[in-house]
């Protein structure tokens, strides 16, 4: 908006609004926002104070007023992302506000020096809520169907995307960090570990790994050779099997044996 007033977290805005009711603040915020949209001189003091009360003071009435005031703008951001997101716009609007509320604790409100930065952060929340959902969808493509879990969207680490620490399903049984450390112990050679990291953490095909690291893997066949070698080692590792349960029953009977002369 036209003015950018610096207000420290926890302090009332320079214009003393400490006795102003939420209703009056909300009305003034709406009025000034309209002026701003018409290109007339306006102040963002009232709107910023609403945010401050909502976030810093955790005032639920102020938060409801914030959501009411900015729902339309957040909806516009959501609709700009198109596709399935726009088709379920209300859900994503709520996710954006939830994310903002969760991420901006009272002690973090000081990072905003005025309304423009608050709104930019809210805009960022509208985008990252969708990005995280895309991550989840991509991660679940790697899981076999019998490992998929019900309930809230999960990250690859089994954490609920928005708030909470829900741990469910197969991923509940392992710590990814522990799994990676076990892999590091089993695969100490960096060239081999890079293939694993690129394959499973970055989701790259061998041809992409070769393209990005030609100095390590001069041909795609080199990547396949390393990858096969490492996978065979991991499937026999008790530590990896225990952590990730990655090896199905009966694998021991399916092993490979050296070919004659090979």
């Amino acid at each position: 908006m036209a003015s950018r007033l610096g207000v420290r977290a926890g302090q009332a805005s320079p214009m003393d609004l400490s006795d102003t009711s939420i209703g009056d603040l909300s009305a003034a915020c709406r009025r000034e926002s309209e002026k701003y949209r018409r290109g007339e001189p306006s102040t963002d003091t009232y709107c910023f104070e609403l945010f401050r009360r909502a976030v810093y003071s955790r005032d639920e009435a102020a938060w409801e007023a914030v959501v009411d005031q900015y729902r339309g703008i957040v909806l516009a951001w959501v609709l700009r992302q198109g596709g399935a997101v726009a088709a379920d716009a209300d859900y994503w609007v709520n996710r954006a506000f939830d994310r903002f509320w969760t991420a901006v604790r009272p002690e973090r409100f000081g990072m905003f020096d005025g309304l423009p930065r608050v709104l930019k952060y809210l805009q960022m929340c509208a985008a990252t809520a969708v990005l995280d959902e895309h991550r989840v969808q991509r991660a679940t493509q790697h899981e076999s169907l019998d490992e998929l879990t019900d309930g809230a969207p999960q990250t690859a680490r089994g954490q609920e995307v928005d708030g909470g620490d829900v741990e469910t399903g197969a991923l509940d049984r392992l710590s990814v960090a522990e799994l990676w450390q076990a892999i590091v112990r089993e695969v100490p050679e960096e060239g081999e570990r890079t293939v694993l990291y690129c394959s499973f953490a970055l989701g790259m095909k061998p041809a992409e790994i070769h393209e990005r690291r030609p100095h390590l893997y001069p041909t795609v066949a080199d990547v396949y050779r390393v990858k096969r070698n490492v996978l065979d080692r991991l499937r026999r590792s008790p530590a990896i099997r225990r952590l990730a349960q990655v090896v199905p029953d009966g694998v021991e009977r399916q092993g490979v044996v050296p070919e004659k002369g090979g």
Partner: protein, 244 residues
């Protein structure tokens, strides 16, 4: 190596079976796997193993999207910034997300006031003032309010450094500039431009790139005004002397 129980030992290598799982195998390998239960079973084992490793490890060390967003907004600590930057350089997924965030956040349409009359009406206009002479800009081509030096101007959280560029032919001059925003990256858009205004001639326009730099080449020595058109903001720098 070959699989125990393979119907045609030596027909396919374990690497070829892995390539089949990755969708890269030749038709010969696919044909063999359709007829060899042992190799088909081996492919299934690789498939499950890769599926589970991928399900557990996929992007396990990527910063959350929210962290990328805070990085883009300049809300990350210096240590955190270097960590995110290092990761993004190596991770094509985070790089793509960061670029999409940058594009999304650069668009202020939902927050912008309705246009009134012209493209710049309703934008905030501020005047930058001389801060300190820029060190090392020794040429006397540009004064910027001081004699014989390049100069630095400041307004709000913006720092604008102006300095002489390479001299042009026949006594012509050039001017180079860099805009830096304190604490976080400068927001520029495709329409961000710098305008050199003189009392006697047509204004000269140069694009501001994503790093905040711009340049005017082959300009007549003289006194100019400079306007920087940034998203939502016009920054004016007065009395810029070039080539004198």
């Amino acid at each position: 190596m070959t699989n125990i129980g393979c119907t045609r030992p030596g027909a396919v290598t374990p690497e070829a079976i892995l390539a089949y799982v990755d969708g890269d195998a030749s038709p010969d390998v696919a044909q063999h796997l359709r007829t060899c239960p042992a190799c088909a079973s081996e492919a299934q084992v690789y498939s499950r193993l890769q599926g589970r490793l991928g399900g557990a490890l996929y992007r396990f060390d990527c910063p959350p999207a929210q962290a990328l967003g805070e990085y883009e907004l300049g809300l990350t600590s210096p240590e955190g910034r270097s960590g995110v930057a290092r990761h993004v350089l190596d991770c094509p997924h985070c790089m793509a997300e960061l670029l999409s965030l940058r594009t999304f956040l650069a668009d202020d349409m939902a927050l912008a006031p309705a246009p009134r009359g012209g493209p710049v009406e309703g934008l905030r206009r501020v005047v930058a003032t001389l801060f300190v002479p820029a060190p090392g800009a020794g040429a006397a081509a540009l004064r910027g309010g001081t004699d014989g030096e390049g100069a630095t101007y400041r307004v709000e959280d913006l720092t604008i450094t102006l300095g002489p560029g390479p001299p042009g032919p026949r006594g012509r001059a050039s001017l180079m500039g860099l805009i830096v925003r304190e604490d976080h990256d400068l927001e520029v858009s495709a329409g961000s431009t710098a305008h050199l205004l003189s009392a006697t001639g047509e204004p000269v326009t140069a694009a501001i790139d994503e790093l905040g730099s711009f340049a005017f080449d082959d300009i007549a020595p003289g006194n100019y005004g400079l306007e920087l058109h940034l998203p939502g903001l016009i920054v004016a720098v007065e009395d810029v002397s070039v080539g004198r």
